[in-house]
């Protein structure tokens, strides 16, 4: 299941890429993408705790199951306005 994951701000700097393309098993929940960023489980858990997830430009629960072609964005704490 092809999934594009967009990275921003501090998370983009840490991972070293604006986007990564993953091939995930069908039925993977959105929160599962944190396990594919190259971090230790403890560090992935820290990010998962404060990073929101958007699927196709809409905030979504981490439990939402991903579908083929979804564009996932990981949204670290925002600071607009």
């Amino acid at each position: 299941m092809k999934t594009r994951v967009l990275l921003f701000a501090g998370l983009r700097a840490r991972v070293g890429a604006e986007a990564i393309d993953l091939d995930l098993p069908a039925g993977t929940p959105a929160s599962g993408v944190f396990d594919h960023l190259g971090a230790t489980p403890a560090e992935a858990a820290r990010w998962r705790a404060v990073t929101r997830i958007a699927i196709n430009m809409t905030y979504s629960a981490g439990t939402t199951l991903l579908r083929e072609g979804d564009e996932v964005a990981l949204i670290p704490p925002v600071a607009g306005g």
């Binding site: 594009r4 967009l6 921003f8 701000a9 501090g10 983009r12 700097a13 840490r14 991972v15 070293g16 890429a17 604006e18 986007a19 990564i20 393309d21 993953l22 594919h36 960023l37 190259g38 971090a39 230790t40 560090e43 820290r46 990010w47 404060v50 958007a54 430009m57 809409t58 905030y59 964005a73 949204i75 670290p76 704490p77 925002v78 600071a79 607009g80 306005g81």
Partner: protein, 159 residues
């Protein structure tokens, strides 16, 4: 039907005159524009400048959602939701939120709602440069992740 709102995520300087013009409507007695500006200090440290980055398509979509919610709660007639991205100096406007309504009470309330919602929800991030030369993403969680990029990287590193 949702009343019109000018929504813009732009690198161009934000002009107050333009915002007021976008709120023109002879049925409205109240036109209110809030301007957020870059301050010279944050958490006690002197700021030299700010760089805003965004997930532009979603910021625009979220702006539309916020306006629709405001329109459902208050009798707004026109709106402006403008955010600047890129490099800004101290004193420059980062955001203009504007509302035009028949009367003033709902203008203040709707404007505050849109601003607060934008600050909480818009996918926009801020990287501050201090006079010391230090650069930091606001709310960045310092961690000890390895510096090497992951194997499936599709893009190049850029903040």
């Amino acid at each position: 039907m949702t009343p019109p709102c000018s929504i813009s995520i732009t690198t161009a300087p934000l002009e107050l005159d333009g915002a007021y013009r976008a709120l023109d409507d002879p049925t409205t007695g109240a036109a209110l524009v809030f301007a957020g500006r870059v301050r010279d200090r944050n958490t006690g440290r002197p700021v030299r400048g700010i760089r805003y980055a965004t997930y532009a398509a979603m910021a625009h979509a979220e702006g539309e959602r916020i306006w629709a919610e405001a329109a459902a709660r208050w009798p707004v007639r026109r709106g402006v939701i403008w955010h600047r991205i890129g490099d800004l100096a101290v004193g420059e406007a980062s955001v203009l939120i504007g509302v035009a309504t028949a009367h003033r009470a709902e203008a203040f309330a709707a404007c505050q709602f849109c601003l607060d919602a934008l600050k909480e929800r818009a996918p926009i991030w801020k990287e501050e440069t201090y006079t010391t030369g230090d650069v930091q993403w606001i709310d960045d969680l310092r961690s000890s992740w390895p510096a090497a990029p992951v194997g499936d990287s599709a893009g190049t590193s850029s903040c």
